[in-house]
Symmetry: C2
Subunit: 277 residues, 2 copies
């Protein structure tokens, strides 16, 4: 469990607002790891060891574990157990359902006794409205990170639809901010549209934004900070592939650490420029 | 795998368009099943035995299995293996992500070699647009069942937003029908709004609609058929709790069968009225 206050402290202490995305694909990890009983967990463990001083958050992507059935779920559970307690540990699950089904998803990711895992935060899809988020918010101190604007081509299909209340993604942010405060609600905002951050900050002046797309997806950190940073930082910037697959050899963890360090130094610079540290 | 043609044949043969929702909650199943190594699978097995001549589809709800961690996933895999091949076997997972993540979710539910399961269809959330459905559609013959209109209070938050192209849910249906034909794409349409079916049929004249909410959620079968049925039936009506929890005693499977029979007879009547059988 990590509160908004603790999150901000972590950012200042580590001079970083990096989230390492654990989108671990068994087909892409170094071959020598195949000798281990659970190559995916072994990979994650070493990535975590190499990056934990440089990031304030980890984000395993549920799909990559689910794709491997029982073995994958075991890797996810073991990875969750290994995540540093002082980090914001996000499950990127993009669940979206209501009522008793949503209660069950909350159990799956927030209730260790039931499922073996208890993440600090979950990514959620907003389509079904407020009923979707209530189950997660009923767990004291846990976070909902709601999809708002994504960086893919498909974002134009619906997120940019003009409604009688502005673009759909604007309405999502406005409504969601009536459901919970900035101490429980964050938004996913795609980084390939950094000028959009100015607009988003009109509707979400205080919320932390989870920003994927820096790194492999091509977002620009400086731009994101210029338009999206608040006095409390307000940003968690994710990088997955650029860090975890920085090398495909025996030195993969070292290379991941070096890549994370590069991003952390850029982040330190941005935090200094903004007078946060 | 079940094609549109086979689905229609099944409906005529069984005189039913019932989907049995396997929202199996270990807290709600009869106590005597706790003696079995996997009480949830044992429950599902007996429900399937008692209902398979009366329904044309099964729909396990992923959340209920995920909530129990490894054990739950094993119950889901074993349940999938036990599902009758001639039924449309739907995983109610409401996944919604893009690119390589969506590929992984498709593996999780459509690729037996990878995950141990291969359902015929998956429910999907549309928020991230076309990128969300492509991975699933790349599996020949598999179905996407896209969330359009749901029966919960939260549907008003976004689904009923007026966009410059009509209500959001109308736009979702229209766009999705440009991504795939009615032989691969269905929609979830909540049954508490049966008059809305007239409107939905303007945009989805041929698609099958998956209709939850008959039974425990209070929809009315006759109304749904009056406004939503097509010449090919075009409806799959789901009932979960009203069937699977019809009794909490030793006779639970028998009671589930009796409840399914009651619905099947109503459906037979509707199919006859419409001249389909």
């Amino acid at each position: 469990m990590i509160s908004r206050k603790q999150l901000i402290e972590q950012i200042k202490q580590k001079k970083s607002f990096l989230c390492v995305g654990l989108d671990t694909d068994i087909e892409k990890i170094p071959a020598f790891l195949k000798e281990y009983p659970d190559p995916v967990f072994e990979f994650n463990k070493r990535i975590i060891d190499a990056t934990q001083d440089l990031c304030i958050s980890y984000k395993p992507n549920a799909a990559f574990y689910e794709a491997r059935g029982i073995k994958g779920l075991q890797s996810l559970i073991d990875t969750w157990k290994y995540l540093p307690q002082d980090c914001l540990n996000i499950i990127d699950a993009k669940r979206g359902d209501i009522g008793n089904t949503s209660d069950m998803y909350a159990k799956a990711f927030f209730n260790e006794d039931a499922s073996g895992m208890s993440f600090d935060a979950i990514t959620v899809s907003p389509y079904m409205g407020q009923d979707t988020v209530n189950s997660y918010l009923s767990y004291p101190g846990k976070w909902v990170i709601l999809l708002a604007l994504t960086s893919s081509a498909g974002s134009k299909d619906f997120q940019y639809l003009e409604t009688n209340q502005g673009f759909l993604y604007e309405t999502v942010i406005q409504k969601a901010n009536t459901w919970a405060g900035a101490d429980r609600m964050m938004f996913v905002v795609g980084a390939t549209k950094s000028t959009e951050f100015t607009n988003i900050r009109k509707f979400a002046p205080d919320n932390f934004l989870l920003v994927p797309g820096v790194g492999a997806q091509g977002g620009n950190l400086e731009e994101v900070c210029r338009y999206g940073m608040t006095k409390d930082c307000g940003l968690i910037v994710n990088a997955s592939r650029s860090i975890i697959y920085a090398s495909n050899g025996k030195d993969f963890a070292e290379a991941a650490g070096a890549e994370a360090l590069k991003i952390q130094l850029q982040m330190e610079n941005e935090l200094e420029k903004a007078g946060i540290i």
